[in-house]
């Protein structure tokens, strides 16, 4: 039974990890919390639904549509909402307001198309559960875990090994100096948004499979936020650790105290973390100015 909960927790944690890393990428490079991330997820989940899933296409086309939409939406969002702030080098406060507004805009668009109705993704798998030595594992959980792990490994590879990834690290370390060293800062920021949007798309599909689709699905982004606070703001590794821990803790708590009280307890855990170790598990202590 215990192993069962751990497995469910890992699957849930892998989706939280997608959300948290997408959020962390933007935090790293522009040093603000992107509140449009949740709405982007919801937007992609609906795009996947209306283009592929409603036409009885399989899981792969749905994911492809959602990921492509995510990349595109994030790029447009960067241009519409954040570019002028970056160029003017304005106070980070504006990023907040812009990202919140962009989130409202995307959510509004979803509401126009979808109304207040609920939608369900089709069942992609014939065999919904697998039995293995008395453990019940749902196929969607396995696929979810594998896809998230693959996506995150690719992301880590891109950031560690490629030229663009090195640029990304340089710009998030020091935007001005990186610019002086010949890195195209705007292009790099676009790249970060593209990656973050694609992760949001993937997360959106899995959230859609796991939950019912509704326009405010994006509010699940709170889980990503909590995960990155626990793991450490601005650290990709921290986001991963935090997300898996949060997933495990949540499934465990749902089992112990029920689903309505779980958000309260996760919030308390977050507060305790901030009191005892404000920089999170893996984060470095980020200061506004040193």
């Amino acid at each position: 039974m215990q192993l069962q909960i751990i497995l469910n927790g890992l699957a849930l944690g892998s989706v939280y990890a997608l959300i948290a890393t997408g959020f962390s990428l933007i935090f790293n490079i522009l040093k603000f919390s992107n509140f449009a991330h949740g709405a982007t997820m919801a937007f992609c989940a609906f795009a996947g639904y209306f283009v592929a899933a409603a036409n009885k296409m399989g899981l792969v086309p749905t994911i492809a549509v959602a990921v492509a939409t995510g990349g595109l939406v994030a790029l447009c969002g960067e241009f519409v909402a954040f570019r002028s702030i970056t160029v003017r080098n304005a106070s980070p406060i504006y990023y907040f307001v812009s990202s919140i507004t962009l989130g409202t805009l995307l959510e509004g668009l979803v509401t126009i198309k979808a109304g207040a109705n609920f939608y369900n993704y089709p069942l992609f798998f014939k065999k919904r559960i697998m039995k293995f030595h008395g453990l019940v594992i749902s196929t969607s959980d396995v696929i979810m875990f594998c896809c998230s792990a693959a996506a995150l490994l690719i992301l880590v590879w891109v950031i560690r090994k490629t030229r663009l990834g090195r640029g990304l690290r340089a710009v998030s370390f020091d935007r001005d100096t990186a610019g002086l060293m010949g890195i195209n800062v705007i292009r790099t920021i676009q790249f970060a948004f593209l990656l973050s949007g694609m992760l949001a798309g993937l997360a959106g599909v899995f959230l859609g499979i796991n939950y019912t689709l509704y326009p405010t699905l994006g509010s699940l982004v709170v889980k990503g936020f909590i995960a990155s606070v626990i793991g450490g703001l601005g650290s990709i590794a921290g986001a991963l650790i935090g997300a898996v821990l949060l997933g495990l803790a949540e499934t465990q708590l749902v089992n112990l105290v029920g689903s309505t009280l779980t958000p309260v307890l996760t919030f308390v855990i977050m507060l305790v973390f901030l009191l005892l170790r404000p920089r999170g598990i893996a984060g470095s202590n980020i200061q506004e100015k040193a």
Partner: protein
């Protein structure tokens, strides 16, 4: 437009003015973002509503108790966060909003859970809302020109420089946060006793986000602008009802345009020269 409807809209706008005045202290003056401020409104609404309906408290003491509870909760939430980078307060308050919704849903026998708290007597009318809004706005205006208000603006412009000048930054952030919480909780009381019904979905983070947007729309450091934009942005949708679902989209596009082309907001730093309010063109903002 019938006079009943007009009174209705005006009262709602005035209650919103109170909320936005609270957000102005937090965001406009001190540069902190709370995305769980609506949850404090929920605390105000539920605590006062429950005290009146279940414990037979009179209206005003119930409001006072509700505000006190909200401030106490605000202290617990704010204490670990005000020393940290400003992102933390928005993330923590966002999680706090979720937690409040969880609590309200959990204690269904008391709070009514998802179906909401009903049977609150109607005590708020246009007059009370107007008087409350005037008092709150005047108080915030006075706070802005006080020593604390100037410290807030210093913290917003540059945390470290303010610290170097001897401003106790965490403390001033806490003061601003708690003042804002108290004001928001009071508006929650007014709201509950106006609509006579509240449920947890009314107090999501979208509502808090909307208030932040309103403050920025009006002007980064202008109380006058914040109040004005509450009236404009609060009244406009009522007259644009026929646009239906497109309202939010148009609203968001408007705000994005303002941020891109007039980053200071409608009024920027300009303030109505009431009382001894001085203009401070060199603070905050860009």
């Amino acid at each position: 437009m019938s006079s009943v409807l007009l009174t209705n809209i005006l009262t709602q706008i005035l209650i919103n003015v109170i909320c936005v005045a609270g957000i102005y202290v937090l965001t406009g003056m001190t540069g902190m973002f709370s995305l769980g401020q609506a949850a404090f409104m929920a605390i105000g609404a539920y605590v006062s509503g429950l005290l009146v309906t279940k414990a037979a408290f009179p209206f005003l003491p119930a409001c006072a108790a509700a505000v006190a509870v909200a401030v106490a909760v605000g202290f617990v939430v704010g204490f670990p966060t005000v020393r940290l980078r400003r992102d933390y307060i928005s993330l923590v308050t966002l999680g706090f909003g979720e937690a409040i919704t969880g609590i309200l849903n959990y204690f269904t026998p008391i709070t009514g859970g998802a179906s909401g708290l009903t049977g609150i007597p109607k005590k708020t009318d246009l007059g009370l809302a107007l008087v409350s809004a005037l008092i709150v706005v005047a108080a915030v205006g006075l706070f802005k020109t006080s020593k604390y208000g100037r410290q807030c603006i210093a913290v917003k412009s540059d945390d470290l420089a303010a610290k170097a000048m001897g401003v106790n930054a965490p403390r001033i952030k806490m003061t601003a946060f708690l003042l804002s919480v108290a004001v928001t909780a009071y508006s929650g009381c007014l709201y509950a006793f106006y609509t006579t019904y509240v449920d947890p979905t009314l107090f999501g983070w979208k509502k808090s986000a909307e208030w932040v947007i309103i403050v920025f729309f009006g002007g980064v450091n202008s109380l006058t602008g914040s109040v004005l934009s509450t009236v404009v942005l609060g009244g406009l949708p009522e007259f644009l009802r026929f646009l239906g679902e497109y309202r939010n989209v148009i609203y968001a596009i408007l705000v994005l345009l303002i941020i891109n082309f007039r980053p200071g907001g409608l009024l920027g730093e300009w303030e109505l020269p009431f009382g001894k309010v001085l203009r401070r063109p060199d603070t905050g903002g860009e």
